[in-house]
């Protein structure tokens, strides 16, 4: 077993152990904290399909995160209030079933990602960063000023949506649901990374000309990756909405996009568990420092700076050493 794999297992175990320990100690909040870590990690794993594998630095992934959240929020608010969302061609009253919401969140995020990706992928490098930002900003400003679902004030979800057979209102249950989804996404990531598709995607990141010259058109590969990536981030958005029982445009903001990128870099760019390590670390810092001092952002900044300067390749980079290239 490689060192990196051992660290990955350890991280997965730690994340699982945290809420269990919390439960044993009666510290319920740490379950919520762990859930948040898992969900942010999931969002970042989503982004990692595009960024880590494809080198597509999307500075607009908050759009999908937020769309996922809003899909969950909107569908469940209609279900809760028993008001139809639309009545043609059939009456649709939304849903408060998590599987339905997840599916819808992933589907709609993917559907939005498709045209955005198709246009954005005409550009490359920093231009890609900025054009994805542009699309996210459009959606953000739309959400802020669109009154139907609360605008900038956001939309609350009155009761947590349900999952057949379990009680999601129990914090641990909801954590487990999120955790399992995170593991599933990680497994998918690992599979895709090592597959033919993943090989093409990664080759495109390293050298687009080379990829095309062997007969694989980079555009379609990337568009597919971007869409998958958006769908997973959208799924995370739906979960976060349920955790917070609230969605608002701040989930769509550029700061959120930036934060997702930061999570990946913090954990280790291009690593399977990079987003997980990053999310765990970031949420932990935010939580611990926030409780210690009012100037927590200053110290958070210092710590992050320390990580970039002294931990080459992020947290996993430091622990596991140089990445091995297949």
């Amino acid at each position: 077993m490689s060192r990196e794999r051992a660290i990955n297992l350890l991280l997965a175990a730690l994340l699982l152990a945290m809420p269990l320990a919390a439960l044993a100690l009666g510290e319920l909040f740490y379950i919520t904290l762990a859930t948040r870590m898992a969900i942010l990690a999931l969002a970042a794993v989503g982004l990692n399909f595009a960024l880590g594998l494809g080198g597509l630095v999307s500075f607009g992934h908050a759009a999908f995160f937020g769309i996922g959240g809003y899909v969950a929020g909107i569908l469940s608010s209609h279900a809760f209030n028993q008001t139809p969302m639309f009545s043609w061609p059939f009456e649709f009253f939304g849903s408060d079933q998590m599987p339905t919401l997840w599916l819808a969140a992933m589907l709609i995020s993917a559907l939005v990602a498709l045209p955005i990706g198709a246009i954005s992928l005409r550009t490359a490098g920093v231009y890609f960063i900025m054009i994805t930002l542009a699309f996210a900003q459009m959606i953000y400003y739309f959400a802020i000023s669109w009154p139907a679902y609360g605008g900038e004030d956001g939309l609350s979800i009155v009761v947590r949506n349900s999952f057949p057979g379990v009680n999601t209102a129990v914090p641990l249950t909801f954590f487990l649901v999120s955790y399992v989804l995170l593991l599933a996404a990680l497994a998918l990531f690992a599979l895709v990374r090592d597959s033919r598709f993943g090989a093409a995607l990664q080759a495109g990141r390293q050298n687009e000309t080379r990829l095309a010259a062997v007969g694989i058109a980079p555009f379609r590969i990337r568009l597919a990756a971007f869409t998958i990536s958006a769908a997973i981030t959208g799924l995370a958005g739906a979960l976060l909405a349920d955790l917070n029982r609230f969605v608002s445009p701040s989930m769509l903001s550029w700061q959120m996009s930036g934060e997702l990128i930061v999570l990946i870099i913090l954990g280790g760019t291009g690593r399977l568990f990079g987003p997980v390590a990053g999310a765990m670390l970031f949420v932990l810092f935010e939580f611990v420092l926030g409780g210690l001092t009012e100037r927590w952002q200053f110290f958070l900044g210092l710590i992050l700076l320390g990580v970039v300067l002294f931990a080459r390749g992020g947290l996993i980079g430091v622990l596991a050493g140089k990445a091995r290239h297949g």
């Binding site: 033919r196 598709f197 090989a199 095309a212 062997v214 007969g215 980079p218 590969i221």
Partner: protein, 249 residues
């Protein structure tokens, strides 16, 4: 005479005032090595790029296996069977030599939209790729990332990738460049055999190799072909000597 595999008709391309390709017509026949030589900046690489699809010509036709491929993209042309090597090595730097070659094998086998099967455990990818590395003498470096190969080794890898595509025609842009005497000699022998698999359009400044290999030579100067002929014809051509060969021993 057999139908040409690749046929270029009156191709033109200008960069501003510069006519980089100025009405070039050229055939590549089955089984031949057709060398394209000419001074630096004559437009050889530009011509290769146009055939491979990286640059769109201003006018003219490119017929490959009886089909006009002028409207196709780079990847589509590669899949039709145009295998190329780059004058300045172009590799996936983080991938090992083996994975660089596997990429070509994967493309040759069809769709890259396969999400689940790990490539490194896929013998249908690794075995042909390894075979190509063996043929080009890079087998011992199979697991070294391309970025860590020496210059000459990268040049060899370029060839291995082009081979792995199993193309119906090769476009090789200065394959000898950067290879030591030993490498050049080996590659010369290698290309000599390769022409039976697919014809080669060979751009090369190494005249020993060109004279040893070429069935026909075209000389490109300022975007125009000034002469086409056998080795002996070109060697004897006064203008070619003046413009390109210089004082050959």
């Amino acid at each position: 005479m057999a139908e040409p595999v690749l046929s270029i008709r009156d191709l033109r391309k200008s960069f501003g005032a510069l006519k980089a390709t100025d009405g070039v017509s050229l055939d590549l026949r089955p089984g031949e090595i057709h060398a394209l030589i000419g001074p630096n900046g004559a437009g050889k690489t530009t011509l290769i790029h146009q055939i491979a699809g990286g640059i769109t010509p201003d006018s003219g036709e490119i017929i490959f296996l009886g089909e006009d491929i002028g409207a196709l993209g780079v990847a589509a042309r590669a899949r039709r069977g145009l295998g190329r090597s780059f004058q300045i090595s172009s590799l996936a730097p983080e991938f090992s030599a083996l994975r660089n070659v596997m990429l070509a094998v994967q493309s040759r086998q069809g769709s890259s939209f396969r999400f689940f099967r790990p490539v490194m455990r896929d013998l249908s990818l690794t075995e042909p790729a390894m075979a190509m590395l063996e043929r080009t003498g890079l087998a011992s470096r199979a697991n070294v990332p391309a970025a860590e190969l020496s210059h000459g080794e990268r040049r060899q890898l370029e060839i291995a990738i082009a081979l792995a595509l199993g193309p119906k025609a090769f476009l090789l842009d200065e394959p000898m460049a950067g290879m030591g005497p030993e490498g050049s000699r080996a590659l010369t022998g290698f290309l000599d055999g390769l022409r039976h698999e697919a014809p080669i359009l060979l751009v090369e400044h190494d005249m020993d190799a060109v004279f040893a290999l070429a069935d026909r030579i075209s000389v490109l100067v300022y975007g125009r072909i000034i002469a086409t002929g056998t080795v002996d014809e070109i060697r004897g051509d006064a203008e070619v000597r003046r413009a390109y060969l210089g004082e050959q021993p």
